[in-house]
C-alpha cells in the first residue's frame, strides 16, 4: 500500500469511530455500574476501544508555549502544581476535555483556578478579554 493510500485508509477508519450509544440526559435513576462508569477519571483512557488515529506532529505555536510558561510560572509562585492542573482538566467534563485543543485546556483550567482561589474575579477576566478583543478587532 502506498503512503497516500495508507493515509486515505487511516482517515476513513478514523471517520468510523463509534458514536456513544447511550444517551444521558439527567436520568431520574441510574444503575450502580453506570455511577461507577461516570465517576471514572477521564484521563485514564488505557484499554478503551478505539480506532487508529493518524500520527501528526505539528510545531508548537506561540500561544501554546505562552500558555505552558504561564502555567509553569503559576506553579513556581505556588498557586498550583501539575497534578492539580491535571485534576482540574479532568473536572472540565468529557465534552470540554476531549473537545478543547490541548493547551486551550490548560488555559481554561488556569483561568478557573485563578477565579477559584480569588486571585482574579470573573468580571476582571471578562473585561480583559473584551479589551483584547477590541484591540484585535481595531475598534
Amino acid at each position: 500500500m502506498s503512503a497516500i493510500a495508507a493515509d486515505v485508509e487511516a482517515r476513513r477508519v478514523l471517520a468510523l469511530r463509534p458514536e456513544p450509544a447511550e444517551r444521558l440526559d439527567s436520568p431520574y435513576t441510574i444503575s450502580k455500574d453506570l455511577y461507577t462508569a461516570l465517576r471514572h477519571v477521564l484521563h485514564d483512557v488505557g484499554g478503551q476501544p478505539d480506532t487508529p488515529v493518524l500520527y501528526t506532529d505539528p510545531k508548537e505555536l506561540d500561544w501554546e508555549m505562552r500558555t505552558y510558561v504561564t502555567c509553569e510560572c503559576l506553579a513556581w509562585r505556588g498557586h498550583w502544581n501539575a497534578e492539580e492542573r491535571r485534576r482540574r482538566e479532568n473536572d472540565l467534563g468529557a465534552t470540554q476535555y476531549f473537545g478543547l485543543p490541548y493547551y486551550a485546556r490548560w488555559a481554561t483550567v488556569a483561568a478557573k483556578m485563578l477565579v477559584d482561589k480569588g486571585l482574579v474575579t470573573p468580571d476582571e477576566l471578562s473585561a480583559k478579554l473584551d479589551e483584547v478583543r477590541s484591540r484585535r478587532d481595531g475598534s
Binding site: R39, H40, V41, D44, G46, G47, N81, E83, R87
Partner: protein, 99 residues
Amino acid sequence: MTKFNVGDRVTVRDATSMFHTRTQMYVRGRTGVVVSHRPEWVIPEDEAWGRENGRKEPFYVVRFRQTDLWPSYAGSDVDTLETEESERWLMPAGKEEGQ
C-alpha cells in the same frame, strides 16, 4: 523505608477512587513485579487538591506482563508494561483484598 523490594511480586489494590487518581483501571487487581524504587513524593490523591504538604509515600515502578493486563492481547508473551504506583496501591501478591 520501603515496604517492597525490587523483585517482589505485588498486586494493585482495587480501592474505590473518589475523584482524582493516577492508578489506572487496567492495572487494578493485576499482579506484577517491582523493578525499581522512585523517590518519596506527595501522593496524587493529595497533590491534586493543592495539598503539597500532603501524605508522602514511596513510589514503585511495577512491571506487568501485557498478557496479564489484556485478556485478548495479541502481541508477544514477552511484552511488558511498566507504570508507577504509590505504596498505598500495592499489596503483596497472593494476599486477597481485605485480609
